[in-house]
Amino acid sequence: MSAVWTTVVVLCIATASMKAIGPVSFGGRRLSGRAASVIGLVAPALLASLVVYETFNTDGPGIALDARLVGLAAAGAALALKRSMLVVVTVAAVATALARAIA
């Protein structure tokens, strides 16, 4: 099998397994108060992490400062103006494309 198809097949199996392990071992339980308040905060911690990661990531370890930062700032401005998701991501893409065209 080629490298491409090996990657597709193994990633499929690995991803499905990683998604299933938690729910299979902890289904339908009641949570203690402390566990519940921690679990309720996974979503914001994860989202903020993804914002940082997707703005600065490179192909390996490291940080890249590039036009995505301009796009993120434009998205922040659109959010401050209470625009819809579609407007926010479009503004980010256009601002990034413009910054790259100028640079």
Binding site: V4, T15, R30, S37, L86
Partner: protein, 218 residues
């Protein structure tokens, strides 16, 4: 336990996620076509269905890396499903097999929309939001693969900036209250601190420790 929304309500609530997911799928298709051919990117979007992992694996393959390295990059990116699965598990009903099947609906935006903030998750929102993104991701990838050769580099169009903007919009919509904002700040700081040297994916998994601010007394 709180009532679950219907899947239909989840679909309706998640419609705004469709267009950005479609555009991201299309940019994956465009970038993957010269590296993976036309069929493999579409199959990958169907069976792996994870933007971050697919882009990570693709960047390794595009640089001429071996399958092992591409798989490792994808697995590390997707390892965040482990803590997320443990978080959502108690909210999923049914036997082990049914829960494993429902767990396949865990993707970032759906996980976040379904999270009620009190440790429980709304299953209807999870399934409905994932249905919307599934359709958008698959059709976007297929379109990107088909028309890709006729398009300029997605980076020229700024499509790579859609990812952070998408997550920022979700964060603004979902992070309510001081503790959520504190968890977000810790998550962002941990990721930024680890990115310069930690392997791909790890800075995101480590950010889940931000949720531990939930142990503080209110």
């Amino acid at each position: 336990m709180a009532q679950h929304s219907s899947v239909r309500a989840g679909v309706r609530a998640a419609l705004p996620l469709g267009p950005p997911t479609f555009l991201l799928g299309a940019s994956f298709g465009v970038l993957a076509r010269p590296v993976m051919g036309w069929l493999a990117p579409i199959v990958m979007s169907v069976v792996v269905f994870s933007g971050a992992a697919q882009f990570a694996a693709l960047s390794v393959l595009a640089a001429g890396g071996a399958a092992g390295a591409a798989i490792l990059a994808g697995v590390l990116m997707n390892a965040r499903w482990l803590p997320m699965g443990f978080a959502i598990g108690p909210s999923l009903p049914g036997g082990a097999l049914a829960r494993a099947a429902q767990a396949q609906a865990i993707v970032d935006a759906s996980f976040v929309m379904a999270s009620r903030g009190d440790g429980t998750f709304d299953r209807g929102l999870l399934l409905g939001a994932t249905a919307v993104q599934t359709v958008a991701w698959w059709t976007g990838t297929a379109l990107g693969v088909l028309v890709g050769p006729a398009l300029p580099d997605p980076k020229k169009l700024g499509l790579d900036a859609i990812f952070p903007a998408f997550y920022l919009a979700l964060l603004v919509a979902e992070a309510r209250g001081r503790r959520a904002l504190l968890a977000a700040a810790v998550g962002a700081a941990v990721t930024a601190a680890l990115m310069p040297f930690a392997p791909v994916g790890l800075p995101i998994i480590a950010a889940c420790v931000g949720a531990l601010v939930g142990l503080r007394r209110t």
